[in-house]
């Protein structure tokens, strides 16, 4: 009897579920790994990209937006939900969500569009009915920027999470290119967020000339407390995208996730309109990067901008 009740209860749960299949308007399922300024920008840019391509929300498509709160098991269930409802297209923002979408679409031909993934090859998202944009950092531009702002600097400290493939590949990139610009890299790997501030203390004690920050989720999560320590020690921190500069990094040669999302939205529009299949579109790396500066942080560190940089730079101070 109770067993019956339990079964009925679970059926009731399932039947209370709203279905999206009866509507004719194609549904775009957006699965975002968590709420996080950069990822939110990605999503807003994505919707703008669709709009720019002449598609109107509510008329040409509807959006089913979900975020997993940084929980892999929930990302799985979100992707399953999209797949079961046969959405027209899935958009996965950040690696765990994108790979979950791709796994859920394994036996269906639902196109998956990803964004905010550094290394789509490593994430095995480079073949199949899937495409998107990579947020690979412009490391050369960043090193060049640091060299121009701090002509005497010799060591750059970087904190990264050893389990994040994005960060590991960025570190390899930095180490390969640093010597060209006359830098050495002092990288500290951590395994969890609570180790980040300790790693910052270590780098400060080692006397690095500046920090450079990646798009490492763990580190970005506690960037403010890192910045507190570095500003006390008088060490400038360079960011990798605009949101980090807003938080107080001195400058960044980095990507704008809104633009990245827009580029992704344009790709999704092509797929939705039937102009191309996701499997036919190669993934793209962001073509544009900007120089972002935070004047307040720069003056605190006593760094003055050359006219050449000042012209290109976009002021990103929060205030």
């Amino acid at each position: 009897m109770k067993k019956l009740i339990a079964v009925l209860l679970s059926m009731a749960f399932l039947f209370s579920v709203t279905t999206g299949c009866s509507k004719k308007i194609p549904v775009i399922g957006i699965s975002q790994y968590g709420e996080h300024a950069s990822l939110d920008n990605c999503r807003e840019g994505f919707l703008q990209g669709l709009k720019d391509a002449g598609l109107t929300e509510g008329k040409d498509f509807t959006v089913n937006y979900q975020n997993a709160g940084f929980d892999d098991a929930i990302a799985t269930q979100i992707a399953q939900n999209f797949s079961s409802n046969n959405v027209a297209l899935m958009c996965g923002i950040a690696t765990p969500s994108a790979t979950a979408c791709y796994a859920a679409a394994e036996d269906k031909d639902i196109p998956v569009i990803f964004t905010a993934i550094t290394d789509p090859v490593k994430a095995k998202l480079d073949s199949g009915n899937v495409t998107g944009t990579s947020d690979k950092l412009p490391v050369d531009a960043q090193l060049d920027l640091i060299r121009q702002l701090q002509p005497d600097a010799s060591t750059i400290g970087i904190i990264y999470t050893t389990s994040e493939p994005n960060s590991v590949s960025a570190i390899a990139d930095y180490e390969a290119k640093a010597s060209e610009y006359g830098f050495t890299i002092e990288a500290i790997g951590v395994t969890q967020q609570s180790d980040v501030t300790q790693a910052a203390d270590t780098l400060i004690a080692k006397g690095v000339d500046c920090f450079s920050n990646l798009t490492d989720n763990n580190v970005v999560g506690v960037l403010s407390s890192v910045l507190e320590k570095t500003s006390e020690a008088g060490i400038p921190v360079y960011g990798s995208e605009v949101e980090q500069v807003k938080l107080g990094c001195v400058a960044a040669a980095g990507i704008d996730y809104y633009l990245l999302g827009q580029q992704t939205g344009a790709m999704a529009a092509k797929v939705l309109k039937g102009e191309a299949k996701a499997s036919e579109i190669p993934y793209e790396t962001i073509s544009e990067y900007g120089i972002y500066i935070n004047s307040a942080a720069l003056s605190e560190m006593g760094i003055t901008l050359s006219a050449a940089i000042a012209d290109k730079a976009i002021e990103s101070d929060k205030a």
């Binding site: 109770k2 067993k3 339990a6 209860l9 679970s10 749960f13 399932l14 039947f15 209370s16 579920v17 709203t18 279905t19 999206g20 299949c21 709420e35 089913n64 979900q66 975020n67 997993a68 709160g69 929980d71 892999d72 098991a73 929930i74 799985t76 269930q77 979100i78 399953q80 939900n81 797949s83 079961s84 409802n85 046969n86 690696t95 765990p96 790979t99 979950a100 791709y102 796994a103 859920a104 394994e106 036996d107 490593k122 994430a123 095995k124 199949g128 050893t162 389990s163 994040e164 493939p165 590991v168 395994t191 969890q192």
Partner: protein, 298 residues
């Protein structure tokens, strides 16, 4: 309608996979009365080993015995730390769990994705020979159902053996075990070994289903396991013919159903855990109500 059916199938699959973890927690928490935190480490351990074996080209079926063995080793470590080194139960689990975080990363290198070209237990030739005609989501359900039920039956049978009865006795009345001239430490170790082997197996199947391993996938699994055990055993408290393993299996499915319902209703993602907490509380209250409503028999 068909989409709703697919959704039910997918959710059921998740519930059945995670039921393996619930069995593990059921053994330690409910039977042995041992709050074992090793789970947060042994679950990703199973996934890490699976991801590496699959990428190296080993048979997906081989991953199952290998993962059972490494999971058992993790349980053995906690057991030995607790029994032989006299570390408190909670701390023994924390020590193994913490060590496993590093060990898992060492095994896998970093978070790993298993290429779609690599076969899993859901796509390998023997599976296809038997179930090739069915769509992947049904194959996943059938296979996870077989695995979940198989291990449930194995456990049920084990509980009726001498060793299984001793296991149950240690949690209920450890003095009795000592008077029977049996070492309760050994019994606890056996329980931890079986429990963590099952938990690691859950990690193995999740990895094959999701084609990925992430170092943080273990976070919160103990809580999930405890929730499903309590949901399951509370719901079926008065029905003594429903085995504990069946109850926690249903607990696991209900948990996944509640999450999927929240997602489907379009509730804000940040509230998902809150919904779970509400469900959890609701079931506990219903359980207590049943207890006072019926004549006190226990």
């Amino acid at each position: 309608m068909s989409s709703l059916f697919d959704l039910a199938v997918g959710t059921m699959t998740q519930g059945l996979i995670y039921a393996l973890l619930s069995y593990g927690v059921y053994i330690t928490y409910k039977i042995l009365d041992f709050p074992d935190l090793t789970v947060d480490g042994s679950f990703p351990l199973g996934a890490a080993v699976t991801a590496v074996l699959l990428t190296k080209g080993f048979s997906p079926y081989l991953t199952i015995p290998v993962v059972l063995a490494v999971g058992a080793a993790a349980g053995l470590a906690t057991g030995l730390i607790h029994v032989k080194l006299h570390v408190r139960d909670l701390l023994a689990g924390i020590i193994t769990m913490t060590a496993l975080f590093s060990i898992n990363l060492q095994i896998a290198g970093s978070n790993l994705i298993v290429d779609r070209a690599v076969n899993t237990i859901f796509t390998a030739a023997p599976t296809m020979a038997l179930l090739g005609g069915t769509a992947l989501i049904y194959r996943k359900l059938i296979i996870t159902f077989i695995i979940a039920v198989l291990f449930k039956i194995l456990l049920d049978v084990y509980f009726t053996t001498k060793s299984g009865l001793l296991l149950r006795a240690v949690g209920d009345n450890s003095v009795l075990v000592t008077t029977l001239a049996k070492d309760k430490g050994t019994v606890k170790i056996i329980g931890l070994v079986i429990s963590n082997a099952l938990v690691a197996l859950a990690g193995c199947i999740v990895c094959q289903e999701q084609r990925s391993f992430s170092s943080t996938m273990g976070t919160g699994q103990v809580v999930f396991g405890l929730a499903t055990v309590i949901i399951g055993t509370t719901l079926f408290k008065k029905l003594s013919f429903v085995k504990g393993t069946t109850a926690v299996m249903i607990g696991s499915i209900l948990y996944k159903v509640s999450i999927q319902t929240a997602i489907s209703l379009g509730l804000p993602a940040n509230l998902l855990k809150f919904i779970t907490a509400v469900l959890f509380l609701g079931i506990l209250v219903i359980g207590n109500y049943q207890k006072s409503g019926v004549k006190k028999s226990a």
